[in-house]
Every structure is written in structure tokens, then in C-alpha cells.
Symmetry: C2
Subunit: 346 residues, 2 copies
């Protein structure tokens, strides 16, 4: 009964929306309550997927719940997110998704047509990602709960040979790569809710990033140090987690980060930093200086990777910090997301 004695550091008296936003509050909850009680000492509580041994074989496992509002939005839907999100968590942990399982919590009164649309979206996304759906479960809750549906997926994957990803493998001089433009998903959701009086042709970036990861791994596997998909909390939060976990500085060339005008404009109106906006089809990678150019070329040559960029590098100092360099020669400290400016985006 060691668990019964575990002290927890989480001091908030109740759960707030920010605890689900992927930023500082989420981190406090996970590190202060879930990790000490629930996870074994070998589990990295904030990693995208755990790599474990089952029956003598290494495999990766991960899970995510999806509660996005609205259920459908330009470029995607909850069903697509639920498949791609789990495929991507496996991919950036260095694994190829093999099988998913799915559960639905459905609201009584949900139209069958809406459900069928999402089930078909999941089948299509699974087919595109090359993964089978091996089972599932359905619960129904009363009308008024669950906003139509919540979907949870769990996935297992096979490690991609030759990859050994870890923040501990990151060294000063390594380059930071980004697979494409940021903020599309979060802002597309915001626009779909009609909260902003903006007409724009922006689509969520939801997709499987596995083909891009594999293209990069093929030419740069020995130089690949770390990957993450910057979902809730955005690029800024992922890079802060990296900086903290590796202990070095992440120096971000802000002008090198691809951002669409629509995303930039919406963020200006809302006073948000695009670096804090969620993505569902992009990833960050740290690559050794020797392999960085080859990795970038491979990404750009792959379908959907033409806007990939080297956006920064790792330096010794200031330790455990993300610094942004602007075009005008200025610098700023870039922090994790605080609060929850865009709730329920995935």
C-alpha cells in the first residue's frame, strides 16, 4: 500500500478549465497529483507515449480523450482528431501506430447521423494513417451531458528502428525543426465557434504526421534527439517542457516560425501569442547539427512538409529557458501557456 502514503504537491482545491489546457496548470496537476500516485518511477508523466516491454517485445502505448467543441470544424472533426491525435503521439515518441481502440461517451438524444459521420471520419483517418481499429466500448449518458459525444482513443505502436529519443539526448548546438505553419487548429476552432467576427478560409491542420516523421527518420535517424507534437499549449509550451527536461536553452528565431496571416491576425485581435495556440498536425524535432539539413530537405520533399523550417537551436545558457529572438535584434523569454484562453479545442 505504498500508494496510500504518497504525498502530493498539488494544492488547488478544485479542478478548473485551465487544468485541461495543456499549460502550467495541467503540468501542476499531472506532476503534482497523477504522477506520484499513479505512475511508476520509470514513466515520464508528460511524454507523448510510454515505451514499455510486453511479452518480451518493446512497444509504445498512449491514450487521449477528445472533448472538442464544436464536433465538426473546417478541416476536420472530433473523430479525425481522435485518430490522428493518438497516431501522432505515437509518431513523435518514435513509434508507428499499429492498432487503436476507441470508446464513445454518447449523449442521449444524439442523432445517429452525427454519430455515423464521426465513425466514418475515424475509419477514414485510420485508413489514411495505416492503423487498424481493434475494438471499443460505448457508454450513454443523459441528455445535457457530454456535448454530443466524447471520444477516447488508445493506441499501441511499434518502435521505428534506429530512433532513441529523449530530452537527455539533446545537446547544445542541436537544431530545432518545425514541420509547418502553427496555430491553424486552435484558430480554426475559434472561428468555427463564431466567437470572432472574422470570415476566413482557415482549416484545422489535423492529419497524421507519421509520413513526415518517417521521411525524416529515413535520412536522419542517428541525429534525431527529441520530438513532440505541440497540441494544447502550443509550440511555446512544448519547447518549455523540452528546455526544462534537457536543462539547456532553446533559442527560437521567431521570424523563422511559419504562421499564416489569418492566424497572426486573429491572435493580434485576441491578444494571444501564436506560439501558445494548439496544433493537431505539426511536430517539433531536435536534430543534431550534422543531420539538420538532411532532415529539413526530407521534410520539405515530403507531402505536406513544404513549409518545414529550422526555427531555432539549443544553447548551453540560459539554462532551462526558451528565448525568442525577434527580427529587430530583441530577445524575450517565452513562457508556457498560463490559463486557458481557448478551452475545449481538442
Amino acid at each position: 500500500m505504498a500508494a496510500a502514503l504518497t504525498k502530493i504537491r498539488f494544492r488547488d482545491v478544485q479542478i478548473e478549465m485551465a487544468h485541461g489546457a495543456g499549460g502550467k496548470a495541467s503540468r501542476r496537476l499531472v506532476e503534482g497529483l497523477f504522477a506520484p500516485i499513479l505512475f511508476g518511477p520509470t514513466i515520464e508523466p508528460l511524454a507523448d507515449a510510454a515505451h514499455i516491454e510486453v511479452n518480451g517485445t518493446r512497444l509504445a502505448i498512449t491514450t487521449d480523450s477528445f472533448v472538442v467543441k464544436p464536433l465538426r470544424f473546417p478541416g476536420g472533426s472530433i473523430g479525425e482528431l481522435a485518430v490522428n491525435g493518438t497516431v501522432n503521439d505515437l509518431a513523435v515518441s518514435g513509434a508507428r501506430a499499429q492498432a487503436l481502440v476507441v470508446t464513445y461517451v454518447l449523449e442521449a438524444g444524439l442523432s445517429t447521423e452525427t454519430l455515423e459521420t464521426e465513425v466514418r471520419a475515424m475509419a477514414k483517418a485510420a485508413s489514411a494513417a495505416g492503423v487498424v481499429i481493434a475494438g471499443g466500448d460505448t457508454k450513454v449518458v443523459e441528455n445535457g451531458k457530454a456535448d454530443g459525444m466524447y471520444i477516447t482513443t488508445a493506441g499501441i505502436g511499434a518502435p521505428i528502428p534506429g530512433l532513441a529519443l529523449s530530452p537527455a539526448a539533446v545537446h547544445p548546438g542541436d537544431k530545432v525543426l518545425l514541420s509547418g505553419p502553427i496555430g491553424d487548429h486552435g484558430i480554426a476552432i475559434l472561428l468555427a465557434r463564431g466567437d470572432l467576427e472574422i470570415e476566413a478560409d482557415l482549416c484545422s491542420d489535423t492529419r497524421s504526421v507519421l509520413p513526415l516523421v518517417e521521411a525524416m527518420a529515413e535520412v536522419a535517424a542517428p541525429g534525431l534527439r527529441w520530438m513532440r507534437d505541440p497540441t494544447r499549449g502550443g509550440v511555446a509550451t512544448s519547447l518549455n517542457e523540452l528546455a526544462r527536461d534537457c536543462g539547456f536553452a532553446v533559442i527560437l528565431s521567431e521570424d523563422a516560425v511559419p504562421i499564416r496571416d489569418t492566424v497572426r491576425g486573429a491572435c493580434e485581435i485576441l491578444g494571444l501569442d501564436p506560439l501558445h495556440i494548439a496544433n493537431e498536425g505539426q511536430f517539433l524535432a531536435v536534430v543534431s547539427p550534422e543531420h539538420a539539413d538532411a532532415a529539413l530537405r526530407a521534410l520539405r520533399a515530403a507531402s505536406g512538409g513544404d513549409q518545414a523550417a529550422i526555427i531555432g537551436e539549443i544553447r548551453e545558457q540560459p539554462s532551462a529557458t526558451v528565448l525568442g529572438l525577434t527580427g529587430y535584434g530583441g530577445t524575450r523569454v517565452i513562457d508556457m501557456l498560463v490559463g486557458d484562453p481557448l478551452p475545449r479545442i481538442c
Copy 2:
């Protein structure tokens, strides 16, 4: 795009509570909508867990969402259910749970104390079941949604050597075993809600059944044909699924089924059949006639198995039917659960 062309047979225009109750409506939803669109042809849509090959190794995978009300009840809580339910789904598919992943959908305003209690309950149940929790995810939804919390677990397991379970392995003459008294969980939940003016000392039966399964497998593995944990829909629904899947008759000696007086009494008051009430710590097994006595002795000798019983047998006719034999020499057809008399019991 084969998925886009798949015809579905599910004709209900909207989702009702009964679609989550585990009986006939659930089966229509799974077989009529989810299975044709989502699952590959090799997946048994209603099996407790799928056995698949990943990276050259056979393993079992399963998932369940838990939405029980209230969160805590005599004998257990949502956190314990979420661990034991997935461990048990793996166990009755013939696998030993190795790792679980967990997601929480939390309602804003949930007290940290309530959350911590459930996280600790999960850690304790995982420790008791010998399984590690390898990762997770947390989402937060607005106050008024999600009834405090919904928990989803997914689990992977290693196949128990020597077991080859399938309805196709079931033959006339085989015996049907039950691990212990039925209906405790469903009726304990009902009493905890205060819907009935009954004072009773009844506890949910939630527990890991893996030790019982392993005790039985040790002496009777070659004779073990099929297992299932009769959760939603109860023993009657599980046996009907067996009868349909194997094509034979399941002849149930009703007097042989262990049922506590409290459960029997509550069912009489409510007009419910104990055979339709959910269990969370029992399982059914079909065993060859040569191995049935050894299997029963092993169950009874194991901790928590002292009320195990042989409750019936498989016969050629009437095909795909469950027949109950009463002590007075009568017979009745026992059907699956219809409707949802006890919603949200797991």
C-alpha cells in the same frame, strides 16, 4: 475509401440510454454501425478484448469508459471499476494485463479531494491486479457536464499460455461455470443511489478476476473453451451472446446460480431478473466435461471463489438459445437484456 461505401443496418434515428446498457440495443448499435464501418473483418466486435500481433508478438488489447453514478458506492468506486474492468476484460479473453493507460474527463468544479480519492483507488487496484499504469491524459469540461468525472482505461495483456478461447471451440456436453454470486454490483449501485427504501449490507463485487482465471487455467487450460465477464446485461446477456455465437443451446440450471438474498429481494421488488443485473467481479466459463470438475475445484480453492458453481451445460438443441430449468421441472427461454432498467452502473 471502402469505408465511405459501407452500408449500415442500424436504423434508430437517435441514441438512447438503452444503447449503452449492454443488451439488445447496444448490440444493434455495435453490430449495425460501429463494426461495419470501424472494425476490420478479423475483429469480433463484441469480444472482451482483441488479440492482435504487434511487432511480431501476440498481445491482447481492450478499452472501456466508465460513467458510473454515484462515483463511490459500497465496495468500490469509479476508479476501482476502471482498473478492474479492463483487467477483467483481458483476463476473460485469456490474457494477463501488463499495462494500462487512463484518461480523465473532469468536470470543472470537481473537488481535488474527490479526484485524489479516485486516483488513489486506481493505484491500489492496479497494484492488487499486478498491472502498471503507463500513461494518461486529462481533459476538463464545463461545470454541469461529465458528472464529476468520466474515466477511460485501455489495457494491453500477454496471452496466458495454453489457452485458445473461442465460441467456435464450444461443443455440446461442455459445462458452464460461474465464479460466484451474481447481481451484487448492479443492486449495490441501485441501493447507493437511494432509489429503493432498502437497508442492506450489500457491496459491489468489483475485483480483479485474474487470480481465479489463472487458478482455473492451471488445472484445466486444455479444456477451457470460452470465458466472459457478465457486466452490463448480466449473465443472461452473456449467455445469449455465447448461444448465438456458438450456435448451440445453453441450458441453465437456475437453482444452481448463486444469488444473495438481498439481490433476490431487490430484484423481486423491482420486477427485474437477477440474470440481467451487472456484475463487476464474476465470470462465466465453458469447460469441457473432462476438465469441469477440476476447474470447479480450483475455483473453489482460490481466494474469493468459494461460491463458484457449475450452472449449466451446452446442448445441441434448441440452437442459439438459452433455456432456464427451474427446480420445479419447468423451463423458460432466457432472453438478453432489453431496455435499460439500471442506467449508468459502470
